[in-house]
Symmetry: C2
Subunit: 342 residues, 2 copies
Amino acid sequence: MNQAQNQTQLIALDWGTSSLRAYRLGAAGQVLELRSLPWGVMKLPQVVLRKNFEVDETAPFELAFEEACGDWIRGAPHAPVIAAGMVGSRQGWREAPYLSLPIAVDQIGSTLSTVHSRGGQTVHIVPGLIENSALPNVMRGEETQVIGALSMLDAGNTPSEILIVLPGSHSKWVQVRLQHREVQSHIEHFHTFMTGEVYAALCDHTILGRSMQTSDVNGDDHAAFDRGVLVAQTPAGRAGVLSTIFSTRTLGLTGVLDGADQREYLSGLLIGHEIAALQALLAEQAHQPSRVILVGDAALCGRYTRALRAYGLDQVEVAAQATERGLWQLAKAAGLLGPLHR
Amino acid sequence: MNQAQNQTQLIALDWGTSSLRAYRLGAAGQVLELRSLPWGVMKLPQVVLRKNFEVDETAPFELAFEEACGDWIRGAPHAPVIAAGMVGSRQGWREAPYLSLPIAVDQIGSTLSTVHSRGGQTVHIVPGLIENSALPNVMRGEETQVIGALSMLDAGNTPSEILIVLPGSHSKWVQVRLQHREVQSHIEHFHTFMTGEVYAALCDHTILGRSMQTSDVNGDDHAAFDRGVLVAQTPAGRAGVLSTIFSTRTLGLTGVLDGADQREYLSGLLIGHEIAALQALLAEQAHQPSRVILVGDAALCGRYTRALRAYGLDQVEVAAQATERGLWQLAKAAGLLGPLHR
């Protein structure tokens, strides 16, 4: 790799609720350097107040920003800075108002908000998306991953309707319509499932967790997880999550599942309910995704791939590096990367 | 009331996970005295160990038992003692094995387990019930409330299928078939919904609780609760609980629900999902309860009555004092109350 390619073209921040990841990207959008910091929007560094010295509420953001990429900026003062995630929420550094669905993907990059750091650096903040349906849905940060995943698709041969799944604390299922040839895609709908956060709350703060042990599953033993996945498609599964989760305990009481199994079973059970419900919603909309793309943590994507297969969705791909690619695409669409990248 | 009526006929304990309630009952089963203690099976009093003195694991039960009714026993040494609830679980004082469904109500009282206190008192322990379906269900303590509620029915005019609902941390919906005239009832099925415990975990340990405020609802303002109740029967409700709960947050973000409303809305939303799912299960079994009886905390029964009405179940009665009446009925069925009560 020659020196020009190693020069900083873009500083990109994935700034969520609980962590901050900073990427230094090169001429082709490749990652030259990556930093992971604990300074999520809800976990910012404490600013020590000097006596009689007022600190405004953006000071913790400034501090985290400096630590994340202050030296990179001084080393490449002309490189633009872009940030996505909860940093653009009402509790963030600067609110970047939600954009409403349906929306053309390119439009997101042309609607960035800006905030100026104390050092004079302009930080471009990616807006979140809102779907104002009967039960509104919002996302912040996932829109960037969706754009990253889309940028990796082979445009020539893509079907018109795809489903991008971002499993996690709040899983997002994003329905995208690809325009043929032009590759101008629209995000049409999305759904949120609080599967990961509910799982953690059930394990840590209800009776279900009391008899659980940390699972130490070897690579091939997925029996308890698979058993849980299938519950939602049985007649008993119609009782819904509030009821079926109790079987985690009763299958323990009756000697069917041991402590480690119970944890795996509950994980599968929740993911199965999520997929079953999503399929019901898609069927109602007559939305038939011919392609399902998973974005996220590798182990979690593995779980979802297994579960999706159990529900008849075999054509599942996993998209890597969606966040940094998405930030790169957004900067490009915003015209931040100069004429060479337009 | 004359002196004979004031004499202790039965000492009855409702001994659950988090609390212990002791009843001193008179000749007609009426409550002469009631004590509420914090000594649930998972919250027993600490026993101080003297050096070189071994205390067996039943010691905390003995201590709580003495505090709950030691003086009552000394005052009426021939009065029998009966206890229901988690005291009969594997973690209890003495395990009273589960009885399997379907079961004749009278059979429960004839299958009590016993434990002998250090003072020589025999304590009769009510068994729990288990339904060994695909997803097993268990109850301990609620069987006693069901029996108490049944004892209050006007036997002459009762329909053959009734539904007894015990809302709470783990709501139970119990399907009972009443034999005509003979009043020999059978418990046929029951379902568990972890609604109360999930509600608490969501409010206290997920993002949904962050923007909530303690609700200070005046008696007539149930708009947010009612709005939540209806979600499960809308098209959006088909996404299931894992998805719909997120609307608690988004309806806050979009200015529709304030902090107090969000708490009420989530309560209604979960109860609505519970009722909708239960109705789907009953429809599948072609079980049509002509009578619905609620047992439990008055405020919670009020919430369920509102929600049941929204789902077309108008004929809802609330049964009071079901626990103490159930313990009395069980003691009678067990032959503990002597020939006068047979």
